[in-house]
């Protein structure tokens, strides 16, 4: 993936909690330790692409971890199987994770397009 976006990030990070930075979407937000990336985004009223609502079924919340892979909980068998089924060899790369399954343990920087505050979405275009 190529990050063509360089704008400053819109930040939603209270002091003391792990921070998730989402490149390509230009947002960051805090997560409670052990909370999944997707759940933390939802809690901040951020729209993260999904068709199953974070149930680990659709795989659309897929993200690429840029930094802090060790600050995410370990990948489970089901998460890896789904990623492989949906994305083939790409899904087998260790930096590819599902936001709805990856638990935040520390600061992490990921790549994912289309993560936006619900209030700022441009519903007419997509």
């Amino acid at each position: 993936m190529t990050d063509v976006r360089t704008k400053p990030l819109a930040s939603l990070d209270p002091v003391g909690e792990p921070v998730v930075v989402v490149l390509q979407s230009q947002v960051s937000f805090s997560a409670e330790p052990g909370e999944t990336v997707y759940a933390a985004a939802e809690r901040h009223d951020l729209c993260w692409p999904t068709a199953c609502g974070g149930r680990g079924i659709c795989g659309l919340c897929v993200m690429e971890v840029e930094e802090g892979r060790e600050n995410l909980g370990p990948i489970g068998i089901e998460e890896r199987e789904l990623l492989t089924r949906l994305y083939g060899a790409d899904g087998e790369r260790p930096e590819v994770r599902l936001a709805c399954r990856a638990k935040v343990l520390g600061d992490v920087t990921v790549r994912r397009r289309g993560v936006k505050p619900r209030s700022s979405r441009d519903g007419d275009k997509t």
């Binding site: 692409p49 068709a51 079924i57 089924r85 397009r113 997509t126």
Partner: protein, 455 residues
Amino acid sequence: MTIEQQIAKHHANVEKHHLQFPETTMWPEQIQLTEEETLYPTSEYTDPERLKLELERVWYRSWQYACRQEEVANPGDYYEYVIGTQSFLVARGEDGVIRAFRNACRHRGTQLKKGKGNAPDFTCSFHAWCFSLKGELVDIPDRHLFPGVTDEEYRLREVGCDVWAGFVFINPDPERAKQQPLLEFLGRVAEDLEPYHMERYRNAMHAVIHLDCNWKAAIEAFLEAYHVSFTHPQILAYLDDVNTALETIGDHSRMIVPYGVPSMRIEHVDEAEIYEAYFNKSATSFRHKQATSLPPELFDEDGTWTLDIPIREYMMQHHERIGQESGHDYSGLTREQLVDDYDYHIFPGFKFNSHAGACLGFRSRPHPTDPNKCIFDVFKFIWPNEHEPIPEPAPMVEVEYTDPSVGLVLSQDFSNLAKVQRGMHDETLTHVTFGSPEVRITNFHNVIERLLAED
């Protein structure tokens, strides 16, 4: 299409994205299936006697796709087509006419040709009985020893054969072929597809895949978009499985899947993601003809998406431009047909996803004796650049369904099918159940039942 008030909420994206569909298509909510159509016995996928009947009364009596005209381009070119236990030879004569014959020497039955090739006549490898490319008996060694053999009685058995849009169809039953010529059999499907100019297409890939499922189950997997959200969620970013329109057309059917818009099941997708998914993740991405990474010109210096038209419109313009550069005539296509998937099923086992300038074709054929197996062909038919030399047709290759060349989307479909077939054998599962999104499948079954009821 009229969207009644009560179902409008299910199809809100039609208005949002200005989607257009032909008046004759329907939404699943507008379709009522009978109980008979809804419930279909599992035994009809597993019973060897049923398979035998389907071969005799459906396949040995129906028009079916055999090969492309470019595969028998020159006089003497022949192409073997096999269905069930029967083998046929499609051949172009010295007069340029394409005919089809039963592939059996009239002497003692030896198959005359295998595969494809070119020959001046069909000479049997056993005793050298010789037949012309028109099927005439032209020579028998020591003919005086066969006083009862007449030229007329011992000519090759010719079967129905005709060409539509570059596709050579045969009908093993010549009488039925006369009663209902190919164009009459195709009906409105032939008219619908005329603007695509598929006669200009070339067979760019032909993969033969042996699947562990019944031939009906295999083709049925591609007759609905209901499975997309769970089997292929990675492509929901660029196609709308919810706003997919359906239509039965006599024995055939179609569905229209909007491309260049995300599924209504997703709250939001960036335009850049739609672009990437459309050009890189589609089973028909082979038709895009150029590198498909995100073009930098679509972003400003801050990395903000700058395209001031909907991405769907951008894709239409893209295909229009590629068509012009390639010398293609898309003047008969609607704007929607430049990007959307117009998916046609031609009874019994042929279907294709039509797009401007290319289509992905599938053909499902029964195993000769085992209802739990079938032969599945995957084709890429591409309109070559008219300004470049026309490529030779691709050779037929046999591949495993797990082969990477099959592609991720199709391998996801195929990996379901063996499980489907195994489940059909469950003693307590007497019927499979179809809903209105699967109306093309119930139409398919209705035609089969009609043909099975004929003598």
